[in-house]
């Protein structure tokens, strides 16, 4: 699924400019790091793509959908082709690991047998099958993020948006999470990951898009976290 963002500006209440004339495109199967300081516009850009935020100006085309003109009823169907991973996991604490993953498929009306099979397969893939009957508070941060990723990809989305997925994790666990995201990307899913983690960006080389004050100031394939490293 292609993503094309043309001249997008987002001004929040109080004249806070979160994005300022952003042009960004990502093709199917790409892995893109969004880097930049806090408040640079990374999260807003991800939320524009998930249509949680509507641009004040500009056009957003994702897989043929014009997000500014999207009909109310099309939103659910559009979001079924997106996976979203948050820094704070946002798992449902009263459900087990298996139920957290399965309820996404249930919401799509997938038959129970298929729900069991697909949830099991995805939990195996992220290495959480053995924890399937535990509830989120009984898991470590890394395990919770694995479950959150499983939930995001169980519906086989074309695009995975990850907002600081390693922000609350130790370096080793962060490593494992990015390896997992890389393997998901290798199977054809476009991954767009906002991060502050310099080590990860440098260790797992992909395209790097840097934002500052709502503008894209760097866009490099196989880039490093900081622009001046090779200078």
């Amino acid at each position: 699924m292609d993503i094309r963002i043309s001249g997008v500006t987002k001004v929040f209440e109080g004249d806070i400019v979160a994005l300022d004339g952003v042009y960004f495109a990502a093709g199917a199967g790409e892995f893109v790091y969004l880097v930049g300081t806090t408040g640079s516009g990374k999260t807003t850009l991800l939320r524009v793509i998930s249509r949680e935020v509507l641009p004040t100006k500009g056009q957003v085309l994702v897989g043929g959908f014009d997000l500014r003109r999207m009909r109310y009823n099309d939103l659910a169907y559009y979001r079924r082709d997106l996976g979203i991973v948050f820094q704070d996991f946002r798992l449902l604490s009263h459900l087990t690991v298996l139920e957290n993953v399965a309820f996404i498929l249930e919401a799509m009306g997938v038959p129970p047998r298929e729900v069991r099979d697909r949830s099991g397969f995805i939990l195996e893939r992220v290495g959480m099958w053995h924890r399937r009957f535990l509830k989120p508070p009984q898991l470590s941060g890394g395990e919770q993020q694995r479950v959150a990723i499983a939930r995001a990809i169980v519906n086989a989305p074309s695009v995975l948006l990850a907002d600081e997925p390693t922000g609350n994790l130790d370096p080793r666990t962060s490593d494992e999470i990015v390896q997992l995201l890389t393997s998901i990307n290798a199977s054809g899913t476009t991954v767009i990951m906002a991060t502050h983690n310099q080590y990860l960006v440098d260790a797992y080389r992909h395209r790097v898009v840097e934002l500052s004050r709502g503008r894209i100031i760097r866009d490099e394939n196989q880039g490093r976290y900081a622009a001046d490293v090779d200078l």
Binding site: R79, R90, A107
Partner: protein, 294 residues
């Protein structure tokens, strides 16, 4: 089919996860619907009693000597709200009087000529129609005098109007109370599941799929509460009627089983409808706000 199973499962989860709240709602709804049903029974019984009394209310119009009785009857029949007009000739009136006087009927023979006038005995549909009919009769040239229980008719009419208004008042209060109770219960359930709702909407669940368990919860609570109230009310009513009928046999209480069953069905139907309306309002606005982009 799968979706329906998930929705039902989620509905029961919602009810049992907050079972204390659900129980409280059931009691509140039952109390409200009990009040609603009781006021309906009061109104139905009042109408039943009034109907019986009204059925016996007649207006007597005495005609001037020499008036055409049949012509007057035809004229009265053209008035509205008339149930029956009986033409009574002077001879028939005399026979009635004799029958009523019994042994003392001999007295009448002393008078010689029959002094009784021709008369019309008129029955109307409702007590409220008596006064207007009497006015029209008085205006007829053939009519000498009109006799009717005017005071009673007007009192019955006023009582009927009062009971009708009281029932409407109770109905409005009960409906508002039921909607508020159901609305708040569902709203609390919505807030307790707000994280879940947000995640579901973010991953592509339709608004209908997210809203339906809450709506079904409201409908189920409304239906169960109303059914409980209807059963209690109808059981209590039949016991109370037996006691009242034994102590006040002159009053004719409503004992129509079909009508009472219909009242029960109406109460349960109202419970379902109010549950649906209250929960729909409670959840839909929240979901609309949740999916609205910033």
């Amino acid at each position: 089919m799968s979706t329906f199973r998930y929705l039902l499962r989620d509905t029961f989860r919602l009810i049992f996860r907050h079972w204390g709240m659900s129980l409280l709602t059931l009691f509140s709804i039952s109390a409200v619907f009990f009040l609603l049903g009781a006021s309906s029974l009061l109104s139905l019984n009042t109408r039943h009693l009034l109907g019986n009394i009204e059925g016996q209310l007649t207006v007597q119009a005495y005609l001037k000597p020499g008036s055409d009785l049949e012509a007057a009857k035809k004229k009265v029949l053209t008035f509205g709200n008339i149930v029956q007009v009986v033409a009574i000739t002077p001879d028939e009136a005399l026979e009635h009087l004799k029958a009523r006087l019994g042994n003392r009927a001999e007295v009448i023979t002393l008078v010689g000529e029959n002094p009784l006038p021709s008369a019309l005995e008129i029955r109307v549909e409702r007590a409220a129609h008596v006064s207007s009919l009497a006015r029209r009769l008085v205006a007829m040239t053939e009519v000498e005098d009109v006799v009717y229980a005017g005071g009673l008719a007007e009192k019955l009419s006023r009582l009927s109007v009062f009971v009708g208004r009281l029932s409407v008042g109770i109905l409005v209060i009960a409906v508002v109370a039921a909607v508020m109770v159901l609305f708040n219960t569902v709203r609390m359930a919505v807030y307790s599941r707000r994280d879940e709702i947000h995640v579901m909407l973010q991953v592509g669940a339709t608004q209908t799929y997210v809203a339906l368990p809450f709506v079904l919860q409201g409908m189920l609570l409304g239906m169960t509460g109303a059914a409980f109230a209807a059963l209690t009310l109808l059981k209590g009513y039949s016991s109370a009627i037996n006691v009242l009928a034994a102590t006040m046999p002159f009053l004719l209480f409503l004992r129509d089983g079909v009508l009472l069953a219909k009242l029960g069905v109406v109460l349960v139907g109202a419970g379902i409808c109010l549950g649906w309306i209250a929960s729909w309002f409670a959840v839909v606005r929240y979901i609309r706000d949740a999916v609205k982009p910033l």
